[in-house]
């Protein structure tokens, strides 16, 4: 008989050791799992919303039941009410999310005002699609998606959105999408991989294009620079200089500066000096760099300074040149749309510098009055004084145009939904994404910021670019509508 080697260890000790090891192993598995579960439970803010990041901000997706920020309450409650009505109703519905950073810190280029205005505009679009003049089927529920400050928690929020694609929410499109940053671009790519249609509202970086299902209603930076150049030339401005932020990752500044430097100089127009640069990522230096420029400007004497940088850096630039040595010379500064992200307070301070400031905005409520052909009548009326938005959200001036851009983004998505339902019978993210490229001619999106159709790469075709001026009270004043091609397309 073959013998198995005898083991003479005390069985009860062996049992205890084995049981101990099993317990330890179980604990080794259970403790992290349990800790993770407890962590998750503690981090739970609401269904689909969790506490994340160093600032412990609540990020994720809500149908309006959860408040990401107090200042959003009035619009959030309306959205919640409308969503519930749609969900409880008999008509078919799909969901469209509005995603951006709703919990803001000093690191964000957007202000609380601007994101609130965006959400108000988005709600208007939902309302118009479900109940108003554009009433169509299927109805849409508007989900509010917060990616956190600087979109630092985009991954969790995007994953939550992806989950809702197949849940009862039936998510088909995500709109808004925040400013042009690497994180937001990553979020777009992931959503695209999961077949969700996207419409960006204020994203202008030129290089964000050629992504499946993605379009934007804002003109690109390049378009803005071209429109600015066209406007200056119409105003007989012949000399200019470019001040550009060279901070790494600031695509907005680089594309603006490059495009303007490329398009402005011609036979009758010239850049009187090399591009003057500062690096906003070096916090100890950039303010001094801006101060140093004022003497150069006095020396070079350009008629216009094209400022290719973020709005918050623009205000410092304005302070710098306000105290210039050549007070006898007047400077006109023209900047890009990021100026609209400045708060009313910041704009007022900038106005006090007495420097003439123009900027290319994304939209303006007065555009309809002064250039009625450039925008949709029906859409623009909602943004006028005493319009629906004013009645719903009084005492909240929306000169920054953010509400219009958000509205146009959601209305684009809603039109996509409607067209997909009508033409393909099935409303999916992919189907909605395909519809964006059918929006031509009479099917152009009748936006409050202009009539919108899209190129294959997702950019709008010759989108109207409002030239705005900062008035003495720090409010943006509509000057005229420009466009990359010179004049914007007309509705009629």
């Amino acid at each position: 008989m073959s013998r198995i080697p005898r083991i003479e260890w005390p069985l009860h000790i062996v049992r205890r050791v084995v049981v101990g090891l099993i317990v330890v192993a179980a604990l080794a598995v259970a403790v992290p799992y349990g800790a993770g579960w407890i962590g998750q439970w503690r981090a739970h803010c609401a269904d689909g919303v969790v506490e994340r990041g160093e600032a412990d901000e609540c990020v994720g997706v809500t149908d309006g039941g959860y408040a990401f920020a107090k200042h959003l309450d009035s619009v959030r409650k309306k959205i919640k009410k409308e969503n519930d009505r749609v969900a409880d109703g008999d008509e078919p519905y799909v969901s469209v999310a509005y995603m951006t950073s709703f919990t803001l810190t000093d690191d964000d280029s957007n202000s609380e005002e601007s994101v609130r205005h965006e959400l108000e505009g988005a709600y208007l679009a939902q309302y118009r699609h479900n109940n108003g003049d554009l009433s169509a089927s299927p109805k849409i529920r508007l989900l509010i998606a917060n990616t956190g400050s600087s979109s630092g928690q985009w991954r969790y929020t995007v994953d939550e959105l992806i989950k809702r694609k197949t849940s009862q929410d039936r998510l088909v499109a995500v709109t808004g999408l925040g400013p042009s940053t690497d994180d937001n671009l990553a979020a777009i790519r992931r959503l695209s991989q999961h077949g969700i249609a996207m419409v960006a509202s204020t994203m202008t970086a030129t290089n964000i294009k050629d992504i499946a299902g993605f379009v934007r209603v804002a003109p690109t930076n390049e378009d803005e620079a071209y429109a600015a150049s066209a406007y200056l030339k119409r105003k007989k401005i012949t000399s200019a200089v470019v001040v550009q932020d060279t901070a790494k990752g600031n695509l907005y500044a680089r594309t603006l500066g490059t495009a303007f430097s490329k398009v402005f100089p011609d036979k009758g127009h010239r850049l009187v000096a090399e591009t003057m640069t500062f690096d906003s990522s070096i916090s100890s230096a950039w303010k001094n760099e801006l101060l140093y420029m004022r003497s150069q400007l006095c020396e070079q004497k350009p008629q216009v300074v094209y400022f290719a940088g973020r709005g918050r850096h623009l205000t410092h630039f304005l302070y710098a040149i306000a105290n210039r040595s050549c007070q006898e010379r007047t400077f006109t500064v023209i900047a890009g749309d990021d100026t609209t992200n400045l708060t009313a307070q910041e704009l007022a301070r900038a106005a006090k510098t007495k420097v003439q400031v123009y900027y290319t905005g994304l939209a303006h409520p007065d555009m309809w009055q002064k250039e009625p052909d450039a925008v949709s009548d029906l859409s623009a009326q909602y943004f006028q004084n005493g319009g629906e938005l004013d009645r719903w959200f009084p005492n909240d001036p929306r000169h920054d145009g953010q509400a219009i851009m958000a509205h146009d983004a959601v209305i684009t998505a809603a039109q996509g939904v409607q067209m997909a339902a009508r033409w393909q019978g099935e409303v999916t993210g992919d189907a909605v994404g395909r519809m964006f490229h059918q929006m031509e001619g009479s099917l152009r999106v009748a936006g409050a910021s202009g009539f919108i159709s899209f190129r294959e790469n997702g950019n709008p075709v010759n989108k109207a670019v409002p030239i705005l001026r900062l008035d003495e009270r720090g409010r943006s004043e509509f000057v005229e509508a420009s466009a990359a091609g010179g004049k914007p397309p007309e509705g009629r």
């Binding site: 008989m1 198995i4 005898r6 003479e8 260890w9 069985l11 009860h12 000790i13 062996v14």
Partner: protein, 662 residues
């Protein structure tokens, strides 16, 4: 009060403990002895079993069977009882199984009916199942059924500690409750195949082999013997298979009490034979049993009780060890090679002292009795049960606890004091003799009492015509005093028998007269004087010793004096030593001291002194010492021995053993 046996049993038995420990630690296939604890009744064998159970029971699988119980126990029943206890689950080890033994017992349990072999296989399985189920329904499991039948044999005898009893009950209760049948898969085939291949079964077919077992059971003694051999073989094989597994013990401890009985001897015969067949004849591994058996008498299979025909000489337990066994065991060709006979010795003075201290020292009322240790040791010779009985009498009685004449007078009557054991109340002498001489009829006991008058029992039996049988029986029961060349009865037994004989004054005198006459004829005057003194002839003895005093060297005279004055007495059963002495040799102040008066006084004092019941506290020591001093003054030369003897008594030190004095 301390529980009987708890801790006490270890005293004087440590050699046995270390021997068993060494056996249990040996590898499973190592050869181990069958340790035989030999000694008269009361020599502490049952206590030793209790002690081993206490010591090893909590950690090792053990089984205990009392083969001397009131109920006869067939070997297969004993096997079932042992297997059931060995199945006890211990924390340290996995559970042991006995599938071969169980199947063998099951197959031989009831008559199996089979018309043809082909039909028989299924029938056997069916019938085995049915037996098993019936047993299970009635008793819980199959081996438990044997427990029900033979439970009387498990009952522990007197001397077991409560802890040992608890362990034993635990072993029985915690035997496996599940059916062993499940272990062999309910289909019996694996175990049945072993029976098919066993050399004792004729048929190679496993099912036919089982039927064969069944037939043996119902076919007379010879075949039943064969069946028992196969079952023992199965038992040992089960043990071997158990120890071959991981997490199992190296050895199993088997405690067989009172194995000198008929069924005990049969059990041991089968066990030794099965082991010898396996380990020597067929050359398989030795079984892993550590066997400790006890016997109150010489076993017939060892030849005559003289021990001349047996290769073994009894070994002392103090130096018992595996090495000692290996050095002294006979060649492996003989099955005597497996024995290891250990003669349980009496307790020495120190061991008795420790026992008494442990038992009485903790009780303030009884603590004074601890001073009686030398008395108890002198009286009992250190026989463990005798010590126990004397202590019990002291605890149960109203004996004066304080040392003094009152206590002396009470102790004088100690044999007639009552001893309660359970509901049985008898005098100490009756209880002790009843236990020591169990199986002796009153006539034989009376005859033995007469023979006990002689120091040499062989002379007593010859002179008094009691025959060789009585002497042989006493020798076979180890009731002779160990360590003496002269075959003398154990001092405790002899004293009790003489106490009984003392109640028959006529017989006392007759017996001693006959013996004195015998020794006179044999020209052994010292022995003759011994018996004359027993008859109370002090003057005659004095005259004899007076004549010898100048005639022989002093040391020889002292030796003769000591032997003569160690004679038994039939003095009154009341009064302390001084009162007894006064009755024998009244002091006469007016008398001048001469050799005759000095020797007379010495004879009387030494005679009283030599009986522990007459002088329990040895109060006559100084008197005897003075007597020797007086004698030394009456002699001109060769007086050093007398001085020494005087010193010896004056500064008396109790000897460790009783073989040398009194």
């Amino acid at each position: 009060m301390m529980q009987p046996g708890s801790g006490v049993g270890l005293r004087g038995r440590s050699g046995i403990i270390s021997l068993v420990q060494a056996c249990l630690k040996e590898p499973p296939t190592a050869e181990r002895p069958v340790v035989m604890l030999l000694g008269p009744r009361g020599s502490g064998a049952s206590e030793a079993h209790s002690m081993l159970m206490e010591h090893f029971g909590p950690e090792h699988p053990f089984a205990y069977v009392n083969l001397g119980g009131s109920q006869s126990l067939l070997p297969r029943y004993a096997l079932a009882l042992l297997a059931r206890q060995l199945e006890r689950k211990l924390p340290r080890y996995g559970r042991s199984h006995f599938p071969l033994l169980t199947l063998g017992l099951l197959a031989s349990d009831q008559l199996l009916r089979m018309n043809s072999l082909a039909e028989g296989r299924r029938a056997i399985q069916r019938q085995l199942d049915a037996f098993q189920e019936r047993s299970e329904e009635r008793y819980g499991d199959y081996l438990a059924a044997f427990f029900e039948v033979a439970s009387g044999a498990v009952g522990a005898p007197d001397g077991f500690s409560t802890m040992a009893l608890a362990l034993l009950q635990d072993a029985l209760r915690r035997g496996r409750r599940r059916l062993p049948g499940r272990v062999f898969g309910g289909k019996y085939s694996a175990s049945a195949a072993w029976y098919g291949s066993h050399p004792l079964t004729r048929s190679q077919d496993q099912w036919e082999a089982l039927v064969e077992l069944n037939l043996w059971r119902h076919e007379g003694d010879e075949q039943q013997e064969r069946l028992d051999r196969v079952l023992f073989s199965a038992f040992l094989e089960d043990l071997r298979r158990n120890t071959a597994r991981a997490f199992m013990p190296r050895s199993y401890l088997l405690l067989l009490d009172n194995s000198h009985t008929e069924y005990g001897r049969r059990f041991l015969d089968h066990l030794i034979r099965a082991r010898h067949d396996d380990a020597v004849v067929t050359g398989t591994d030795c079984d892993p049993l550590t066997v400790v058996a006890s016997s109150n008498r010489w076993l017939p299979r060892w030849g005559p009780a003289t021990g001349d025909a047996w290769p073994w000489r009894l070994r002392g337990p103090d130096r018992a060890s595996l090495q000692d066994w290996h050095e002294h065991r006979p060649t492996r060709d003989s099955d005597d090679t497996w024995w290891y006979p250990l003669r349980l010795r009496d307790l020495n003075l120190d061991e008795v002292r420790i026992r008494i201290d442990l038992e009485l020292g903790g009780n303030p009322e009884l603590a004074p009795f601890t001073r009686l240790t030398p008395f108890v040791h002198r009286l009992t010779g250190g026989l463990p049960r005798a010590v126990r009985q004397v202590l019990d009498v002291l605890q149960q009685s109203t004996a004066p606890a304080e040392d003094g004449p009152g206590q002396d007078r009470w102790l004088r009557t100690l044999p007639d004091q009552t001893l309660r054991v359970g509901e049985d109340t008898r005098t100490l002498v009756d209880a002790a003799l009843g236990h020591l001489l169990r199986g002796f009829d009153p006539v034989a006991r009376g005859a033995l009492a007469e023979c006990a008058a002689a120091r040499d029992l062989s002379v007593g039996t010859r002179v008094l015509s009691s025959g060789e049988t009585l002497f042989g029986e006493i020798r076979a029961r180890w009731l002779l005093s160990p360590g003496t060349i002269t075959p003398t009865l154990h001092p405790w037994l002899r004293r009790l028998l003489l106490w009984e004989l003392g109640r028959r004054p006529g017989d006392w005198d007759t017996v001693h007269e006959l013996l004195a006459e015998h020794f006179r004829t044999e020209r052994q005057p010292v022995q003759a004087m011994y018996h004359r003194l027993a008859m109370g002839c002090i003057d005659e003895v004095t005259d004899h010793l007076l004549l010898r005093f100048p005639a022989v060297p002093t040391p020889q005279w002292i030796s003769e004096f000591s032997l003569i004055t160690s004679a038994p007495n039939r003095l009154p059963s009341h009064g302390g030593p001084l009162e007894l002495l006064a009755g024998l040799a009244p002091l006469r102040p007016d008398q001048a001291v001469d050799a005759a008066s000095a020797i007379r006084g010495l004879v009387a004092a030494r005679w009283v002194w030599s009986d522990p019941l007459a002088d329990p506290a040895m109060r006559l020591n100084d008197l005897i010492a003075d007597g020797f001093t007086q004698l030394s003054q009456l002699r001109r030369n060769d007086i050093v021995a007398l001085f020494n003897e005087a010193e010896r008594y004056r500064h008396w030190r109790h000897p460790q053993t009783t073989e040398s004095e009194g």
